[in-house]
């Protein structure tokens, strides 16, 4: 009886909660896996470079400071000033976008979201998949569309790298001239219509680096907490041993 109740309690349905909704990838059946490694500094540095060059012009990372990024990623301050800060900001400033919100609204109909926490809101997999699934869509205002985020306002910023993609087998719906709906078949596939400056593998690697960097951006203290957490656990384990011995010692009195 008691065991049964215990089992019921311990069996709290923990897993699977995150997956639904959080890991849906628009018209795709599921998001592509991406290898996140916050200890891989070269990858983070490459990602940071892509970020400040291609994302920061429109999106902010306005909870993050340049010098914190420099310290964590091993980028010296003079290099930071020279190569990564384009807005005339100081190294201690927050990474705000150069674009004004009103301009953004006028140009893109919607203000580009801040990206500091995007991987914690969506998921690393979602971001990685999203970045790689832009395709040509002449019917959309920007000329681009995205399998993961249908009818997204953002154009394909990195098309020079990836080239132009189009839906592999134009579906019946698309031929009819109807826009691709959100509920359309989930087995969409893209193929290269015009190759870009990079091969698919190179582009995937760049997007992995960028996603890796965005994960770092979401929580710069993550590695710290892993490291410190281990010490705390070791301490508590040692303390537990002596606390337990002490308890046993005292409880010898109790019969």
């Amino acid at each position: 009886m008691r065991t049964l109740l215990l089992l019921v309690l311990m069996g709290l349905p923990l897993g699977g909660h995150a997956a639904e909704g959080h890991n849906e990838c628009g018209q795709l059946a599921k998001c592509d896996p991406v290898k996140i490694d916050l200890r891989d500094q070269p990858s983070l540095q490459r990602g940071a470079r892509t970020f400040v060059n291609y994302c920061l012009p429109c999106h902010g990372a306005s909870y993050m400071r340049y010098n914190r990024m420099g310290q964590d990623l091993g980028i010296p301050e003079d290099l930071l000033k020279e190569d990564m800060i384009f807005t005339g900001d100081k190294v201690g400033d927050l990474m705000k976008t150069a674009m004004r919100k009103e301009d953004a609204k006028e140009w893109l109909k919607t203000a580009p979201p801040d990206l500091t926490l995007v991987t914690r809101w969506r998921s690393p997999e979602w971001v990685y998949t999203y970045l790689r699934n832009f395709y040509r869509d002449d019917k959309s205002a920007s000329g681009w569309n995205n399998l993961v985020f249908p009818n997204v306002a953002m154009p394909h910023v990195l098309y020079e790298w990836q080239g132009e993609l189009r839906p592999a087998q134009p579906t019946a719906q698309a031929q009819d001239g109807k826009p691709v709906e959100k509920t359309a078949p989930t087995s969409e596939r893209l193929e290269v219509a015009k190759p870009g400056a990079k091969t698919a593998a190179e582009f995937d690697r760049d997007m992995r680096d960028l996603t890796n960097f965005l994960v770092y951006l979401g929580e710069p203290a993550k590695l710290d907490r892993y490291r410190i957490g281990v010490y705390v656990l070791i301490f508590l384990a040692v303390f537990l041993v002596f606390a337990y011995l002490l308890k046993k010692e005292y409880w010898k009195d109790v019969h």
């Binding site: 010098n67 914190r68 100081k90 201690g92 301490f235 002596f242 011995l245 010692e249």
Partner: protein, 200 residues
């Protein structure tokens, strides 16, 4: 609580170890809370070194800039002003600036500056933190008597400082005005908040 009788030695030993570990653990656990009250990254960014162009300060003129939320004075002293520093020594508490905390090593000299004519001071009275007034002119027009050599006067409690920020005798302020860490980037630009050799 004093327990009656003799405490079992094993029990006593375990008690001491557990208590000791507990105290150590509590100290470690307290550290993050204490440290969270230190200046944050934002405060540090706002308090970052300030670069100032001093080429346009005329002799006898004073420029005020803000560094870490405090007024910092940059005074280009005239030869007469520099002369006065030698004459008022007998009126001062600490003419040779012996207190180390009130200036960096490289400003521990008769003019309390890197270049004799350029004085850099934190404009906060060392008594209770008011900002002293400038009474740069010597003599009676300063309103401080005809023997006033020129300097600064704190209206809050009447502390007086000379043109090197040195405190007078018989005033509430205990030590000289502070010289902030600073260095010359080029001849006409100084960086306030960073020592000559490097870190602030």
């Amino acid at each position: 609580m004093s327990d009656e009788g003799v405490v079992d030695p094993r029990r006593r030993r375990l008690l001491i170890i557990t208590t000791g570990l507990g105290v150590v653990g509590a100290a470690f656990a307290a550290t993050p809370f204490v440290k969270s009250m230190m200046p944050s990254a934002r405060a540090k960014a706002a308090g970052a070194p300030v670069e100032v162009d001093i080429s346009r300060i005329e002799p006898g003129q004073l420029l005020t800039v803000e560094w870490r939320g405090q007024p910092v004075w940059i005074l280009r002293r005239t030869p007469e002003m520099l002369n006065s520093l030698k004459e008022d020594v007998s009126l001062l508490v600490d003419p040779d600036s012996h207190v180390d905390s009130q200036q960096p090593k490289y400003a521990q000299n008769p003019t309390r500056s890197i270049k004799p004519e350029v004085l850099v001071l934190v404009g906060i009275c060392t008594h209770l933190g008011c900002s002293p007034e400038r009474r740069l002119e010597a003599g009676s027009e300063s309103g401080l008597g005809s023997d006033w050599p020129g300097g600064f006067f704190c209206p809050c409690h009447g502390s007086k400082f000379d043109l090197a920020g040195r405190v007078f005798k018989n005033v509430p302020a205990p030590i000289n005005l502070r010289v902030p860490p600073h260095r010359y980037v080029v001849d006409t630009r100084i960086l306030i908040g960073v020592d000559q050799k490097g870190a602030a």
